[in-house]
Symmetry: C2
Subunit: 452 residues, 2 copies
């Protein structure tokens, strides 16, 4: 069977009733986590530029923009997709290297709001969107990732799958939608060399393009039936190696969304293990930085390649510095979005402490990567004490899960610019999403600006 057809059949077969309760709860947490990132990102310049563009272009008031106001379902998918990736706190799936929330959820949300669908519909669509893009990402990982931003490319399929479920596409239409999602899939990593704003355009366009493919399919606009495995399709064109089997292996038997990892700290994922351990240590033993003689962080090579930087020059770079993040964790006891600022970047205490942090390769931890993103810390106190801690997984991985409470706290922190009443009402509504009959209710009191 063509892979698109297998995915279409899976999607058509899945209903809200079939989804186990723990998966439903997990999905609501994904949605809550999406909103936190999107609220925190909505006022950032690249997101505002995209939002301004959309407002100049205009559109029917079909769905809420998280930057304020309403526009067409395509425009909402674009803006709300761009908004939720920029604070670098959105969820991540290790095996497919995809941040699914920032693509799948804005697509699904815009369609659900437009068509006044229910919270149950939204949950079901999000489960399907994650499933489809994770499977495609796994099929092409890791080689595809060298050139391509999986969140954008594979994410386009996820956005389409979620929107297709919500708009009740039949099997053929679903296949067309995946065909025209895949032929729009784009997003090169080249922007990273310049730290360009492109990174926010990618998830926004992926969400928009996925929805566009679905709206066209609903009108009978045809697409390639073998967009994934075809001779001139997505796999062969865009991945040096790929594993088709990942698309259908146990499809419908398990729920890949629960493999999702949540980010608690506002830094690169490769710094989280050490930050977790240092915060854990502080819980056991209050420590003043002056008591510390040295800190050794042992980890895997990929973490060292990306985050061994003892002199970051920008806030952005500081999030990719293991030395900085370790020092920050020791001083603040956290690594929240707020903790990364020019003051913490340049203050003397941080800089002094960073000099005491060394990052070294641990062969055993390295051998276990990428299944395990582990680290060990060794903190030497000036009084001669040594504390050693080790973890195989950063907090937020499925193997080291965060609680709903942790995620709610993260949401509150990210959404802190919203009026408290509104912030809490939305969180409560999302956590009781099954009981929402019409998704326009969720964002009903967001008019010209979200932040008022």
């Amino acid at each position: 069977m063509e892979l698109s057809r297998a995915l279409a059949k899976y999607s058509l077969d899945l209903s809200f009733e079939k989804i186990p309760d723990d998966v439903k709860m997990f999905t609501k947490l994904c949605i809550l986590d999406y909103f936190g990132s999107a609220f925190a990102g909505s006022n950032k310049p690249p997101v505002q530029m995209i939002s301004e563009l959309i407002n100049e272009m205009g559109g029917e008031k079909q769905a809420t923009l998280l930057t304020g106001g309403r526009s067409s379902v395509l425009n909402a998918a674009l803006v709300n997709g761009a908004a939720s990736h920029i604070v670098e706190l959105d969820d991540i799936h290790k095996a497919s290297i995809i941040h699914a929330a920032t693509v799948v959820i804005p697509a699904a949300l815009a369609v659900a709001e437009w068509k006044k669908l229910s919270g149950e519909d939204l949950i079901t669509a999000v489960v399907i969107g994650y499933e489809v893009c994770y499977r495609i990402g796994e099929a092409v990982s890791p080689s595809h990732y060298y050139y391509w931003h999986n969140t954008a490319t594979c994410g386009t399929f996820g956005a389409a799958a979620a929107a297709a479920k919500l708009l009740d596409l039949n099997e053929e239409e679903f296949i067309y939608a995946l065909g025209n999602a895949g032929t729009q899939a784009a997003g090169l990593w080249e922007f990273i060399e310049d730290g360009a704003m492109t990174k926010q355009l990618h998830p926004g366009k992926a969400a928009m393009n996925g929805v566009m493919a679905v709206l066209l399919a609903k009108k009978g606009f045809t697409g390639a039936s073998k967009i994934l495995e075809g001779n001139r399709g997505f796999f062969k064109a865009m991945s040096e190696e790929y594993n088709e089997g990942k698309i259908t292996e146990a499809l419908g038997e398990k729920y890949k969304i629960v493999e999702n990892s949540f980010k608690i700290h506002a830094s690169c994922r490769h710094t989280h293990h050490a930050v977790d351990l240092l915060i854990e240590m502080l819980h056991e033993r209050e420590t003043d930085p002056s008591e510390i003689e040295s800190v050794i962080v042992r980890t895997y090579q990929a973490a060292i390649d990306i985050t061994d930087n003892n002199d970051p020059q920008t806030q952005y770079a500081s999030k990719f510095s293991l030395q900085f993040c370790s020092a920050l964790a020791l001083i603040k006891g956290s690594a929240n979005l707020d903790d990364f600022n020019d003051s913490s970047l340049w203050n003397n205490e941080t800089r002094q402490l960073m000099k005491k942090v060394s990052v070294v390769l641990d062969p055993e931890i390295n051998a276990a990567y990428p299944e395990k993103w582990g680290a060990g810390i060794e903190v030497h106190y000036t009084n001669g004490d040594i504390v050693e801690l080790k973890t195989d997984f950063p907090k937020g991985d499925p193997e080291n899960p965060v609680s709903a409470k942790d995620l709610l706290e993260k949401y509150r922190n990210l959404a802190r610019d919203l009026p408290e009443e509104k912030r809490e009402r939305i969180a409560a509504d999302i956590l009781a999403l099954e009981s929402i009959g019409d998704m326009t209710d969720l964002l009903k009191d967001f008019s010209s600006s979200l932040l008022s």
Copy 2:
């Protein structure tokens, strides 16, 4: 110098005054030819579906949709890009394998209309758009073309370059625009296996994406500075082989737009040489099909691979059948859009004549391909006469140019559903484009429908 910077400098340096008169005239013919294809395509189902979608989404009335009405500049680029590729009569550049008109012109036209720019501005922008996408297409041809629809992928850069010139982007903004055009570049050939409607989505989205990149750049939205040659950029990610030198070789010294080929016949370009020769033969000697014993068409392998089909089952397939197109030319003396219909496809006379046509490889012609797309015909009459004709280039190639009169006749044929007065007024306006001070004038009397 980075390649994007070289292209930005070239564009900033080019002014209408610098463009030689023959190039200006040629560019106006490209624009005229675009309108013919777009008018003929505007009522086709896939184009109507995209147009309906856009109308549902809504948008400010900034630019004319060739399907009727007005919408945002992005929506106009999308619809008008989709409209002009479907009748398969749009222009083609052999060396880059790009149909530039269907991407560059709708992008430029929408922006020029929106900003009330002049005909001179439009001509200059179109010259730049063609130059940029042809160069990029040449740099990645032929390997890129195996998976990717160059018109869509490389065309995105051309649309961006044209829009960037019209919106007066500075050098850095121009570079950002190319960066964010390239990161959106997409369009896989896989749809061709199903003959899916995707082919029309490609140029529409390329035009839209290119304009979006420009509108964002104008707001300061940054993009990759080395989107073409960078380690994770367009060339390395999307082309097995590429030649960077093509981007800057004699840049600014010649005008690649004049390398453009126009299509006179409504069939695959690989059938045109034979159709040209058979029509030429009929001009010399009126021939009834019953007088013909056999026809041998000698050509290059690529033409045989794509068009050796003696039993086409659909109108679309008949345009890719050398046997059918040859029979059609012999019976009708033409291969216009009108000539391809179910009646000609299935009638007995055509089918009988097709059986007499054989297609054979000519080693000499094959060796000269792709520089020359040549063919020879050998028509054997029942009375024993043999007529032989040969050409190195189909009509419409720069080496075998069509006249302005030929193109005007083609335009009139394609735009025949328009009221005559309107059709002629537009043609005349385009041929005097330099004298239009505000491009909104060109489409001023198109309100709800173009065809009334």
